[in-house]
């Protein structure tokens, strides 16, 4: 156990000497895909609750597709499936993008979390109290202004408890990245296991690291909810 830690603490935490690995890679994967996913989800969630069906339907199809299939299959399609097409390899720009494992992984993760986040935000927008919107309309808020000043800030706050689940889900999903050769915590654990045969210890360290990140995230979201959801606290 001690030898394992002494030999592998560096790759487990940040680098194996050539590239970013371990904890740093896992955190980068999680935060990058969450940011990209949120960027996708903000406009899509507004489209998802649109009263025009031709706006609503494509978004509904997108979330249905990405929430109804396993992330592993989505990753395989992005990483191995698309690159197996000759048309993609011949196009220099696409070739450069899909040849890199990290790009493919981030694409799959971002689209997946984007689909889930879209539904979370759309649910929050729908549960917006009617009176608030009517009051804002009476005060002259309309269209773009209504969304940027009233609906989206409120929806983002209200969706915080559900979004925290999604963040932890995403953290746990990043473990799939090792199947696309991205060196995250689990990949380092597998390498350590293959080299030393200390199975319980190698994967145990990885499990403990994920547990710590999960607890840290839960704590952060608890603080965030205290700060931004205070207005919903009935005891005040």
């Amino acid at each position: 156990m001690i030898e394992l830690i002494l030999e592998y603490w560096r790759p487990f935490l940040y680098s194996d000497g050539q590239q970013i690995t371990g904890l740093a890679m896992t955190l980068w994967l999680t935060s990058a895909s969450l940011c990209l996913g949120l960027l996708v989800a903000l406009p899509l969630s507004i489209a998802r609750v649109s009263t025009r069906s031709w706006v609503r339907w494509p978004v509904q199809g997108f979330t249905y597709l990405f929430r109804g299939t396993p992330l592993y299959v989505q990753l395989l399609v992005c990483y191995t499936g698309i690159y197996s097409l000759a048309a993609v390899r011949e196009q220099p720009l696409l070739d450069a993008f899909f040849r890199d494992a990290l790009n493919c992984t981030l694409l799959a993760f971002a689209l997946n979390t984007g689909a889930y986040t879209t539904e979370i935000l759309a649910g929050a927008i729908r549960s917006m109290p009617r009176g608030e919107v009517e009051a804002a309309r009476a005060l002259g808020f309309d269209g773009w202004k209504l969304y940027t000043y009233l609906i989206m800030p409120s929806a983002l706050r209200r969706s915080l408890p559900y979004y925290s689940n999604e963040v932890i889900f995403m953290l746990h999903s990043t473990t799939l990245a090792f199947t696309a050769t991205v060196p995250d915590v689990l990949k380092v654990a597998r390498d350590a296991n293959a080299a030393t045969f200390l199975t319980f210890e190698s994967f145990g360290i990885a499990a403990a690291m994920y547990l710590c990140i999960t607890f840290a995230l839960v704590g952060l979201f608890h603080l965030a909810e205290k700060r931004w959801l205070r207005f919903l606290d009935p005891s005040r």
Binding site: G68, P70, V73, H172, L186, T199, F200, A207
Partner: protein
């Protein structure tokens, strides 16, 4: 485009039995893990609501640890770890080498993991059954086992239904992970077929489509069950 589709349909004929086998493995795995998970969940919920402190603490540790660690890490830990432990044991005892087959390992791992999620669902549902119901059953002279089966359990399942449904959808998709530990499920079969026929993308998309069908079908069944037996709304959890 049309040519490609025609070519894919032509190859599909040869791979149909293999694909069906993969679908069968996925379904078997999902249903058996569901069953095991439900058992773990019931035991866990019972332990969480127990009067004995040790039971409560161990159930709390179980759900916290399992839900805090990614499925895949636990799967590898249990799959490789248990195999190593069994090999060591057989070596020490001088028994023949025993290999755990991937399906058993997959069912055990998924059942154990999702048992933690089911524990939380059942705990909430058990608390939602009014206490007076069990008291009334006792007053009518029912034995504790009768009271649990006919009164508490029967009503609890109605409250648990939405949570169980959500967990089932996550579990169904999580079965895709077992191809990583070497089980020939739908994903693995699609990869094999795609690589040997040089049509990887088409086969992967087909696998995705089959998962989509499976989750849509379960969605329909769950909606029917909720209409039929539901009556209590519970918050969605993933």
């Amino acid at each position: 485009m049309l040519e490609n589709v025609a070519r894919f349909v032509a190859t599909l004929e040869g791979f149909a039995p293999l694909l069906l086998q993969g679908v069968w493995v996925t379904l078997k795995l999902a249903l058996l893990s569901l069953l095991l998970g439900l058992i773990f969940g019931l035991l866990g919920a019972g332990a969480k609501l127990s009067r004995v402190r040790a039971w409560r603490v161990s159930a709390q540790v179980y759900t916290t640890l399992i839900r805090g660690v990614p499925d895949l890490v636990l799967m590898l830990l249990i799959f490789y770890g248990v195999q190593t432990a069994v090999s060591r044991l057989t070596a020490v005892m001088g028994w023949a080498y025993l290999e755990i087959d991937p399906l058993t390992a997959g069912v055990l791992t998924l059942g154990f993991i999702y048992g933690a999620y089911f524990t939380e669902t059942f705990r909430g549902a058990l608390l939602a059954v009014p206490r007076g119901q069990a008291q009334a059953a006792k007053a009518l002279g029912m034995k504790p086992s009768q009271s649990f089966i006919y009164i508490t359990f029967a009503q609890m399942m109605r409250f648990a239904l939405p949570g169980l449904g959500n967990n089932w959808m996550v579990l169904l998709k999580a079965t895709a992970l077992v191809s990583i530990i070497g089980l020939a499920d739908l994903v693995k079969v699609a990869q094999v077929a795609g690589k040997s026929s040089q049509q990887l993308l088409s086969f992967l998309l087909l696998a995705g489509l089959i998962y989509l069908l499976l989750s849509s079908a379960s969605n329909a069944v769950l909606r029917w069950l909720e209409r039929r037996y539901g009556g209590a709304k519970q918050e969605a959890q993933r």
